[in-house]
């Protein structure tokens, strides 16, 4: 049995994108309702984007809501004000969050540690107020309404985007593409560079790597992934709530990552799923969801700092060493 579990996880790790895809294909049937599955898919991607920066490069941003929000708003504005098709909206959303990532990243990477976190938080707050005040474009406090996409037209097929299960699979196509991209990047030489920067910036520079440029690039990639999550969310909800840019949303990315296991490929997704599922269950029982979050968060930070997936992997690796099982 142990050997079987070990083999399973070894295989899952070797083919991580395929594993994720297989699981996500059946995922809606494990969840109580489809809207929750879609939510988990979108926030899973958001956490994956955040993890690229936090888990793999070691930079803790407290402002990633900015990229989720910018992606959402710009996708929404493309549909509502410009009347552009869904695919253009997604492209605009991702491009805009990459630009936002370049600007915020350019300023933030000059600092380290807690200062980096504070600068990202402050800049994200500026973004929040800009969108809050630009009522004509964004709907201000009420959010941007009317991001109506009723069907997805592709050459040859037309998909009804109102049906929640269809919606899930359309969004999954984009999420799968993004996961493939992230997996490629992590496995590339550049993936090794960002990990080395996380481990020791001084040594990475002494090895000849331009730390600032590498950090900026990973910041933009991370922002782009989060922006894609945001754009998909705008299409999913058909409105863009102003909360998308709120710092609580930034905190959620940190929480999901820690819960699932930072610096692991599947961790952020697991974290997002557990977080949103718990939220769904707990809010049905009590109003004090944030209290429950606090307790869960503390338990993990104190007893399982590697998160759910990280702890699991750690255990499997121990078994592997002990049994000398498949490497």
């Amino acid at each position: 049995m142990k050997n079987f579990i070990i083999s399973f996880f070894v295989l899952a790790r070797a083919h991580r994108v395929a594993t994720a895809l297989l699981f996500l294909l059946v995922f809606p049937f494990l969840m109580p309702y489809d809207a929750l599955s879609v939510n988990i898919l979108i926030f899973g991607l958001y956490a994956v984007g955040f993890n690229l920066l936090f888990g793999y490069t070691g930079m803790l941003s407290f402002g990633h809501a900015a990229f989720l929000g910018v992606g959402s708003y710009l996708a929404g504005i493309s549909v509502v004000h410009a009347g552009w098709p869904w695919w253009a909206a997604i492209l605009v959303g991702v491009a805009a969050s990459c630009v936002a990532g370049a600007v915020i990243g350019f300023m933030a990477i000059r600092t380290r540690g807690i200062y980096f976190s504070m600068v990202t938080l402050a800049l994200a707050q500026i973004v929040y107020y800009v969108f809050y005040k630009a009522e004509g474009w964004t709907g201000g406090e009420n959010g941007l309404r009317g991001v109506r996409v009723e069907s997805i037209n592709l050459p040859g097929i037309q998909i009804d985007f109102i049906n929640p299960l269809n919606k899930y699979y359309v969004i999954l196509a984009f999420v799968a593409l993004a996961l493939w991209f992230v997996s490629r990047v992590l496995n590339s030489p550049f993936g090794a560079v960002i990990e080395s920067i996380r481990e020791n910036e001084k040594r990475a520079a002494a090895c000849g790597y331009d730390v600032a440029r590498s950090k900026l690039l990973v910041f933009v990639l991370s922002a782009g992934i989060c922006g894609l999550a945001g754009a998909l969310r705008a299409l999913h909800l058909s409105i863009v709530p102003i909360d998308s840019l709120h710092y609580l949303q930034s905190g959620q990315a940190v929480m999901m990552c820690l819960l699932g296991g930072m610096g692991t490929f599947f961790g952020p997704f697991v974290g997002a799923a557990v977080f949103l599922y718990l939220e769904d269950v707990v809010t049905n029982l009590t109003r004090y969801w944030m209290g429950a979050v606090g307790v869960v968060f503390m338990v993990f930070v104190l007893f399982f700092p590697k998160g759910i997936w990280g702890t699991l992997m750690h255990q499997i690796e121990r078994w592997q060493r002990r049994t000398g099982g498949p490497a």
């Binding site: 080395s196 481990e199 020791n200 040594r203 000849g208 790597y209 690039l217």
Partner: protein
């Protein structure tokens, strides 16, 4: 002597606020030499090391590498032009395996911003990394996490990483700091071998250690150059005795 010195510091000073850590130091190093920079605590050795290795730019003066002015170039440019270093406080990638540490260091030569090719496409790097590890005697520990290695092994690993860019000039800041006597002997043998094939500059606190190792010693004191000479000259120098040997 038409070839310029491999490294030259011209009237280099470094201030920290009002404190002059280095004051108008001029030294040049010839290619192929093994030189040690020594001095009592607070002599400015580490500041000098940082200035010539890209840790901090000098406040005044110039640093030239093979006749080219490299004052104030970015830290990552040092490895690219052929200057590698090992730090006084060990800097390795602790959560990565020893082999991966060296592989990442080697990778700089072929790829820095390649996002979409898999790492495995650069297979030759793994062989080279293995060879470098065996060079510093870490073959048996190649799959261990760098953070799990003994202190001396981590320092050897750092040397392997420094060698990865095939430097013309290797700078080492107290390479035997914190090492056991056995580890020190191993490291000194390694330094001797490395010095046979490239220029090496050491910064060292322990004078005894470098006496038998280097042909040229440079003594710093209070941020200034005190003496520059061979071990016999240094041993015979009254000034050196006063500031350095007299202490212990």
């Amino acid at each position: 002597m038409n070839t310029p010195p491999i490294l030259e510091a011209r009237n280099v000073s470094r201030f920290f606020g009002k404190f002059k850590a280095l004051n108008n130091v001029s030294v040049s190093f010839r290619a192929g030499e093994l030189t040690a920079i020594i001095g009592p605590n607070g002599a400015g050795k580490s500041t000098f090391f940082n200035v010539i290795s890209g840790g901090v730019p000098p406040s005044e003066g110039q640093v030239l590498f093979q006749g080219r002015d490299i004052t104030g170039i970015a830290p990552h440019d040092f490895a690219r032009i052929g200057i590698a270093k090992s730090f006084q406080i060990t800097n390795v990638f602790k959560q990565l395996s020893a082999l991966e540490n060296v592989r990442v260091a080697l990778q700089m030569r072929v790829s820095r911003f390649q996002l979409l090719r898999p790492r495995q496409a650069y297979e030759e790097l793994l062989h080279q990394a293995g060879a470098l590890l065996s060079r510093v005697g870490l073959t048996a520990s190649r799959d261990k996490l760098a953070g799990d290695l003994a202190h001396g092994q981590q320092r050897s690993l750092e040397v392997a990483m420094a060698l990865a860019c095939d430097p013309k000039l290797l700078l080492m800041d107290e390479p035997t700091a914190g090492m056991s006597p056995e580890e020190t002997t191993v490291m000194m043998d390694l330094i001797r071998q490395l010095a046979a094939e490239r220029t090496v500059i050491l910064v060292e606190h322990k004078m005894k250690m470098v006496m038998g190792l280097c042909k040229r010693l440079i003594v710093l004191h209070h941020g200034e150059l005190l003496v520059d000479g061979n071990p016999d000259e240094i041993r015979a120098n009254a000034e050196v005795k006063r500031v350095y040997l007299g202490q212990g």
